[in-house]
């Protein structure tokens, strides 16, 4: 254990703990932008600068490990001045369109500026304006808003293991971008959208959600993804009874907030007019496309009757049962019981095995 003093309070933490983590134990809040608890800290944004006694220069709390006897001050007048300066610098490069930004209300930059009391930049940095990229159906990329926190790059590399993104350019022109300038697809992106989930600003946003509701209008509904058996936790963003976008819900037991392309972007079926909501029974010849609506009772009776007939005329082994990972363990158990115990066949399989 290493003992140190933060803002006059002592704390003992395991070796290798960062100053930021140690401060959080004491409920001391240090502002951050590039830091993300699930990604490796790299100290890009410099908002978490703190003063360490005896050192001539401030250090970043997010990636400096504690040392025995360290005395840290997280909020001196000088440091607060610097933090303001950093936010002003970010704003000097940032488009001033918070009014219509998709991220407004959920933007870390807005929050930081608000908390630090920064009204706007004293200077506007001369920087070329970039086209907004819509090279795919899922993610809109407006790198004019990118604050170069590197979170998207890290999540793609560290979580998705994909390395489709990198920081490109030098100096004031530096932005996040794709390893292949042609676009996300060309860079090998699998459209998990996890980059979008961690982007603190409006640089990466959901295409489906564009213009369909502001942060404060959207109702957040916790749910579980129904595509596979992992059971990723989701938050559905709902307006007027319609799902507008989906984000991962940070459940450390399951998916830590990360999702795949289906769970995040494949929700249009929910409100699809083609969706079946009642059982249908075919009328006429196979392939004729004629169905009539039925009740569940009638439909299940029909299935049971037909199954029994097939079994009686051809034997049970012409039947096969395929179950779904979207069902619970108990439901899967029951289905194999039905196959083996009732129908008398061992032809049971499961989609998760395919």
């Amino acid at each position: 254990m290493v003992t140190l003093t933060i803002d006059g309070r002592q704390v003992a933490v395991p070796e290798g703990t960062t100053i930021l983590e140690a401060a959080r134990r004491l409920d001391i809040r240090i502002p951050t932008l590039c830091y993300h608890p699930l990604l490796r800290p790299l100290g890009y944004c410099r908002l978490c600068l703190v003063a360490v006694e005896g050192a001539g220069k401030p250090v970043t709390a997010c990636n400096t490990p504690v040392a025995e006897g360290m005395v840290v001050h997280t909020s001196t007048p000088e440091i607060e001045e610097w933090r303001k300066g950093i936010i002003e610098m970010l704003l000097s490069q940032h488009p001033a369109d918070c009014l219509t930004c998709e991220k407004a209300g959920d933007c870390d930059l807005q929050d930081c500026a608000y908390q630090a009391g920064v009204k706007g930049p004293a200077w506007k940095a001369e920087v070329a304006s970039l086209p907004v990229l819509r090279d795919n159906p899922f993610i809109v990329r407006d790198y004019n808003k990118c604050i170069v926190c590197g979170r998207c790059v890290r999540v793609c590399l560290e979580v998705q293991g994909n390395a489709a993104l990198e920081l490109v350019g030098r100096g004031i022109e530096t932005k996040a971008g794709t390893v292949d300038p042609a676009g996300l697809k060309e860079a090998g992106c699998v459209f998990c959208g996890n980059c979008l989930q961690v982007c603190p600003v409006g640089a990466l946003t959901e295409r489906a959600g564009e213009g369909r509701g502001r942060e404060w209008e959207l109702k957040k509904v916790r749910s579980i993804c129904s595509y596979c058996g992992v059971g990723c936790n989701l938050t559905l963003y709902v307006k007027d009874g319609k799902v507008v976008k989906v984000k991962g819900y940070e459940n450390p037991e399951v998916n830590n907030g990360w999702l795949c392309v289906k769970g995040r972007f494949g929700f249009d079926y929910i409100h699809s007019p083609d969706r079946l909501t009642k059982p249908l029974i075919r009328e006429g010849a196979r392939g004729s496309g004629n169905f009539r609506e039925a009740t569940w009772e009638e439909a299940l009776d029909l299935v049971a009757r037909e199954l029994r007939e097939i079994k009686e005329s051809h034997g049970p082994d012409v039947l096969g049962f395929l179950c779904s990972a979207k069902c619970t363990n108990e439901e899967n158990y029951l289905l194999q019981k039905l196959a083996r115990g009732v129908m008398g066949t061992n032809n049971v399989d499961h989609c998760a095995r395919l």
Partner: protein, 627 residues
């Protein structure tokens, strides 16, 4: 003359060396401003400086990415007309850049602007443009990188490792050397002596990270892969000797599209890497894998072909338009004691001992062995002997432990492995019976009067002779060259030390088209210096074959300038809190490692390797020369 540049708290730096003979009118950089000519338009030069900083800024942190751009914009405003409000804003932005930037590039880049403001009255009065319009040259330097003889881009491969871009990190290393896995193990890492983190707590494990990257590639089942142009019809070049110098020259020439043939006397390539350094420090599959990658670029190695025996030097000169001599030092220096030339069984010079061991040729065996010498070669002989099963391994050295030229860790490992040290002891006579070594007569040494050079040389203590019994005696007190293959070659000059004389920058000998480098030029030195000279020779040969002339290039001039000016400041106050210890590489426990010649050091695992690089201060500094 005006200077704001200080080293630590010392006096202002005023000397401004010329660049390749061309005088500088001013220099703006990480330490401030040195103004020699008051006619320099300082505001214009400062703007140029911050343009250079913006070009180098990696853009990761806000103060440098945005702040240095704002500094530039304010300087532009200032040149339209002075306003004190502008100066106040400039000051607060520059201070934030200095205090808040992530790495040394941004932190140090604020200094010129701050110094300009602090000395505004004196500087603003300088008469702009009087000395005519200025010419500028921007330079980027990092202390570790400048200290590395091969100038590896260390901060960049540190950053690549930190950001888990390992492939790119290896590519950065491979710009300068094909031997990442080799240097990552056996380099003497002079860079670490000039690591600024060392001024705070401990230097970065610069060598260890190189190994980490090379090992990671192998660990993922890949083979070392080098990029380079395939042969493109450029004239063929001959290299004599497949040691690190010869291989590096061949590598860099092959990348430029030359067809290179390497003539190697031994059945293996690698020079001292293959037949000197023992496998427990450098496993042979690592070395051979990297040599294979060089061969895949089209380099042809002719094994068992000693120049001077299988083929004459004259023939090479006739068949090739350029030749690089990198034959190293493969003879042992004589101790000058009685019995040395008698051909006793059990007497074998160190270089030969290791060579035979590595080539699977017979070496004398027995229960006890005495190695003479205090350098790394002596340590290698002693530690190899422990592994061969000698029960008693003695090491005789004529000075004290503190003066041993061997690396401290080598000495420590030798001790841990059971080598017995005799300090301040020198052999005087080899004692033999029936033509077999029985032991060695030694004398104790003490420090005598200072000699002409002021160094106190060890002198024998009269009457202190004693007898040390041993069956094998291995002198390892130095290596010398065998230049007999050059017999009859006119024009090639040999130095007093028995090495080849060359131009220190271009490595050209007096014979046009013939270049030399590595130990054969430097004397017994290091792998990385051999690599550096091999690289430089490739550049010279390329110059020679494309233009017929060989001369110092722009980078040579900048390197020489930076060396004279100084990029590392040993008394600098870095200003960071200390107490972030360096990660230690894993090592095999002594009992295990002595079973055979298995590798002793095991490198970093993933977490430690990546974590170590977080300590790097990324000490790139931008400077602007004003002519």
């Amino acid at each position: 003359m005006l200077s704001t540049w200080r080293s630590g708290s010392n006096a202002y730096k005023t000397s401004l060396p010329p660049l390749g003979g061309r005088p500088l009118r001013a220099f703006i950089g990480w330490g401030g401003i040195i103004l020699k000519d008051a006619g320099v338009d300082l505001l214009a030069a400062l703007k140029e400086y911050y343009r250079a900083v913006q070009r180098e800024s990696c853009g990761r942190c806000v103060p440098c990415r945005v702040g240095t751009k704002l500094i530039l914009q304010i300087l532009e405003k200032l040149s339209e007309g002075d306003q004190s409000a502008l100066r106040r804003q400039l000051k607060s932005i520059a201070l934030l850049v200095q205090q808040g930037s992530k790495c040394e590039l941004g932190q140090s880049a604020a200094k010129p602007a701050l110094d300009f403001l602090d000395n505004f009255d004196r500087l603003a009065s300088s008469a702009p443009g009087e000395g005519g319009p200025a010419e500028y040259k921007a330079v980027v330097a990092a202390p570790c990188m400048q200290r590395c003889p091969a100038h590896l881009d260390i901060p960049r491969y540190m950053e690549c490792t930190q950001e888990v871009r390992f492939r790119e990190g290896l590519d950065v290393i491979r710009e300068s050397t094909a031997l990442a896995g080799v240097l990552g193990r056996v380099c003497v890492h002079p860079c670490e002596d000039h690591c600024r983190r060392g001024l705070v707590d401990e230097p970065l494990a610069i060598r260890g990270i190189k190994r980490f990257l090379a090992d990671y590639e192998l660990g993922r089942g890949r083979r070392p892969r080098l990029d380079g142009a395939r042969m493109n019809g450029r004239p063929p070049v001959a290299v004599i000797g497949a040691g690190p110098a010869g291989l590096s020259c061949a590598y860099q020439l092959a990348r430029r599209g030359y067809k290179v043939t390497v003539y190697e006397a031994l059945p293996v390539a690698g020079g001292m890497l293959a037949v000197g350094i023992p496998p427990y420090r450098l496993p042979r599959d690592i070395l051979q894998g990297e040599i294979e990658a060089i061969k895949e670029l089209g380099v042809d190695i002719q094994y068992n072909t000693r120049v001077g025996r299988e083929i004459s030097f004259k023939e090479l000169l006739q068949s090739y338009r350029a030749v690089f001599i990198a034959t190293g030092l493969h003879e042992s220096a004589r101790m000058g004691v009685e019995g040395e030339t008698a051909g006793y069984e059990g007497f074998v010079p160190g270089v030969k001992y290791l060579r035979n061991l590595n080539l699977g040729l017979p070496v004398p065996r027995g229960k006890s062995i005495a190695v003479v010498g205090g350098g790394n070669v002596a340590m290698d002989c002693a530690r190899s002997s422990v592994r061969l099963g000698f029960e008693e391994v003695y090491l005789l050295y004529r000075r004290s432990r503190a003066e041993m030229p061997a690396n401290e860790c080598e000495v420590r490992d030798a001790e841990a492995e059971g080598v017995k040290f005799y300090f301040q002891v020198n052999p005087v006579r080899i004692v033999a019976e029936d033509g077999k070594v029985k032991g060695v007569e030694c004398v104790r040494m003490e420090l005598g009067e200072p000699d002409a050079s002021g160094r106190r040389r060890p002198v024998p203590v009269p009457g202190s002779e004693f007898f040390l019994s041993c069956e094998v005696l291995v002198p390892a007190i130095g290596q010398v060259a065998d230049l007999s293959f050059l017999d009859g070659m006119e024009g090639l000059e040999v130095t007093k030390g028995g090495t080849l004389a060359v131009d220190p920058v271009t490595l050209a000998t007096k014979v046009p088209g013939v270049f030399a480098g590595g130990d054969i030029v430097l004397g017994p030195r290091t792998v990385v210096e051999a690599v550096a000279q091999g690289n430089r020779a490739a550049l010279s040969i390329d110059q020679y074959l494309t233009s017929g002339k060989v001369k110092a290039g722009p980078q040579d001039l900048v390197d020489a300038w930076l060396k004279e000016f100084g990029v590392f400041d040993a008394v600098e106050e870095v200003g960071l809190p200390s107490g972030w210890p360096r990660k230690e590489e894993k090592a095999a426990p002594v009992e295990e490692r002595l079973q055979d010649f298995r590798e002793v050091e095991l490198g970093f695992d993933f977490d430690d390797g990546v974590a170590e690089t977080a300590r790097c201060l990324r000490c790139y500094r931008v400077g602007l020369m004003v002519f």
